[in-house]
Subunit: 145 residues, 3 copies
């Protein structure tokens, strides 16, 4: 079995933003030349998540509203007492982003058959930025023959 | 390493319903003849999820109540303004289903040792239908020797 | 491709507690001698979860508070009517733990390059105990060359 490693790097937006990774994933699969196997997609940050959903503008707004209501950034979190932690004084107050990342998850694994990712019609693998804007990295690895 | 692809197709029920995939997963493992490796299970839809939990009737009811309270179907969601989206007019109003799928996740990976899925006594890999009833597909792939 | 199976066993604390698995994961990778491939980490219980997050004491307290508010253990759950279920009479009343495990997820997959797990600076793979104290097992499998 061959292993083809790749990275996706992208610039995110303020607060919560969603980023469709399908163009980069499909390009990596083509570059790998692997036809049958699987692909792992893993976030490289504790305040981003990887999840599969429909890439639809209005749904993205619903997701932002929902996560902001579920985990209000302005609530009291111990992690946001930067002065009480052993860390640089300019660390962001982002406990809410960590909590959202925990719920959404950091990795997905997708089957690869005949050079195509086996996903439904509306499914896009997406990076969820939960504490932007930042430069972010996603680890992609393609396995198979 | 050998790769054995399989699909599970099933008919779901109204609204939220849980479907234990273990009988089909065990059957696919047996058919594959693979003894040691791993199994990936990936949802093929943006309003279903794959998660591991106990298959217990009363817990399934708790899950339905919890998700309905957490993400009320009757709340205001932009995704449900079908007329404002570039999509067929008979699309379902299912923003709440997408949000639940996002939280539950779309894939799990399970270890396979000596022909057995390495899972605890009460663990079942399950499909969570979040916008039924529909005919649904799950991608299963078995890897190993 | 070689497959190296491992188990991590650990003793958890009362209620919700977080356990950083990185020391054991790195030790298993070293023992396996595998340099390039991937690692799967799968919970063996329906009331524990596997997720990647920052291992920071105050954030762990925020996670406990958040999950307890989101899914109050004292709420009414059908799964907690032990007498009405077909199970031993000393089963714990832990519907809230099952619901949290469902949201957090049971497995993660991490890329392995040049003998190192490909994770960001603050990322730790962690076991989330949601119904402790108990003795818990995590299935780890390392694949590659």
């Amino acid at each position: 079995m061959r292993i083809f490693p790749a990275f996706i790097e992208l610039q995110t937006e303020q607060g919560i933003s969603l980023h469709d990774l399908m163009p980069e994933l499909r390009q990596s699969v083509t570059q790998s030349g692997i036809q049958n196997g699987f692909v792992t997609v893993t976030s490289q940050h504790t305040t981003t998540a990887i999840a599969i959903n429909e890439n639809e503008t209005r749904l993205a707004e619903d997701i932002k509203s929902f996560l902001t209501r579920l985990i209000p950034p302005g609530d009291r979190y111990l992690h946001n007492d930067i002065a009480l932690r052993d860390c640089p004084p300019d660390e962001p107050e982002n406990a809410h982003s960590h909590l959202a990342a925990m719920l959404l998850g950091s990795s997905e694994v997708i089957t690869l058959v005949n050079g195509e990712l086996v996903l439904g019609q509306y499914q896009s693998v997406m990076l969820y930025e939960l504490d932007g804007p930042r430069t972010r990295k996603v680890s992609v690895q393609i396995y198979g023959e």
